[in-house]
């Protein structure tokens, strides 16, 4: 037997689940060849070691759990997979409901008159897209300060969300809260981190205003035009 065949024959023996000693030719070659004897011994040690490895056993409750799942009428047999799937379904339904409520609120007849105070209605009207593309619009920040409560809350919340999101953007040169240790030079006007962020967010605020305008023009204006 050649040494090159030795390992293949050893594997054939183990594949057939036969003891190593059962092949006389293999044992004879192992006695005569030092390298092959080492391989033989290593394989023997491996087989002996494997016998002592602990076998994973299921808990005593497994068969009871299977029985309970089989008895439960319509019970889902896959608790750990079913939960995320169910959660996704519930989450999807909630998102769909929220979207429906939003669309309903925007399309509702008399929404502008009923929900927006009279002094804010004018501001909102001024902010809507106009026929002349070059017309001046009030910045969203200004609108947030002067519009009605609901619109103000929406604008503030939007800005706060954007601020929170931008704080997580790595490399963005915005100071986190209290990064200066709360110390301000006494001869300078007090500028909090929110103001710094607000300055940093100015371009984004403008693009948000443009996006809101577009939404307004696409959804609300045609609806009002059709009503009139």
């Amino acid at each position: 037997m050649r040494c090159a065949d030795f390992e293949n024959r050893l594997n054939d023996l183990l594949d057939a689940r036969q003891p190593l000693e059962s092949d006389a030719a293999l044992a004879g070659h192992a006695r005569a060849c030092r390298d092959c004897r080492e391989l033989w011994t290593a394989y023997g040690a491996m087989l002996a070691g494997v016998l002592h490895l602990a076998r994973p056993e299921p808990s005593a409750e497994l068969s009871q759990r299977v029985g309970a799942a089989l008895r439960g009428a319509g019970a889902d047999p896959s608790p750990c997979i079913a939960w995320p799937r169910r959660a996704a379904q519930v989450g999807g339904a909630l998102v769909a409901m929220a979207a429906a409520v939003l669309v309903w609120a925007l399309m509702r007849p008399g929404w502008q008159q009923a929900d927006v105070p009279a002094d804010a209605a004018g501001q909102l009207a001024a902010h809507r897209p106009t026929a002349s593309p070059g017309a001046e619009r009030e910045p969203l920040d200004h609108l947030a300060r002067t519009a009605g409560d609901e619109y103000r809350a929406l604008a503030i919340e939007t800005r706060r969300s954007l601020t929170s999101a931008l704080l997580m953007v790595p490399g963005l040169a915005l100071s986190p809260p209290d990064s200066d240790g709360g110390q301000q030079p006494s001869d300078q006007p007090s500028r909090g981190w929110v103001d710094d962020l607000s300055d940093g967010l100015a371009p984004l605020t403008r693009s948000t205003a443009v996006a809101l305008d577009s939404l307004w023009g696409a959804v609300v204006v045609p609806h009002e035009d059709s009503r009139s």
Partner: protein, 188 residues
């Protein structure tokens, strides 16, 4: 396939609850063993073993008796485990596997030390090699059963097992473990 399994299945299909329990008791260890090999996590393995057995028993009418019962069962288990692995996007933990490999109570004896060395060598194998090796050598599944469970050709499983043996043997040689191997193990 043994006739007693065929008979058990027939009794299950006839609504015999005792037969269902007997079938579960008979195969739960092998199903759990496979799930544990694939997932490396005891609780996940129990959940998948439960799901596999429930699905199999509910689908007994679709089982083809020409095909062995165990390979059919292991194929279901393998599919369930792959689905779970895909959903959680992480592979079995090596630590969990190593913790359960060695029989630590026997570590003081020479055979126990050898088992520990083998356990460490097994733990260092690539996941596919480790699964195939342990399923063949310890769980005593056939190459066809392993191939069905792991969803790969029989030739691939053989290659994995052979490579696993070679790597374990090399590690044992490099660790100088072979000098302390009892004569009974040498067999020459």
């Amino acid at each position: 396939m043994p006739d007693d399994v065929r008979e058990l299945v027939a009794r299950c299909l006839a609504g015999d609850q005792a037969a269902v329990t007997a079938l579960v008791d008979r195969f739960q260890g092998q199903v759990f063993g496979l799930c544990y090999r694939m997932l490396g996590h005891r609780q996940d393995a129990e959940d998948m073993a439960q799901e596999t057995l429930v699905r199999a028993i509910r689908s007994l009418a679709r089982w083809n008796p020409e095909r062995g019962f165990l390979p059919w069962l292991l194929t279901i288990a393998g599919n369930r485990c792959r689905t779970l692995l895909a959903s959680r996007a992480r592979r079995p933990s090596l630590v969990a596997e190593v913790d359960h490999l060695a029989d630590r109570g026997a570590a003081a004896e020479p055979a126990g030390q050898l088992a520990e060395e083998v356990a460490l060598a097994v733990a260092e194998l690539r996941l596919e090699y480790r699964q195939a090796f342990l399923m063949f050598q310890r769980d005593e599944l056939s190459y066809a059963e392993i191939a069905a469970a792991l969803d790969c050709p029989v030739g691939t499983v053989k290659t994995w097992v052979h490579r696993a043996r070679r790597q374990i043997a090399e590690r044992l040689r490099n660790r100088d473990v072979l000098r302390e191997v009892p004569d009974a193990v040498r067999g020459l």
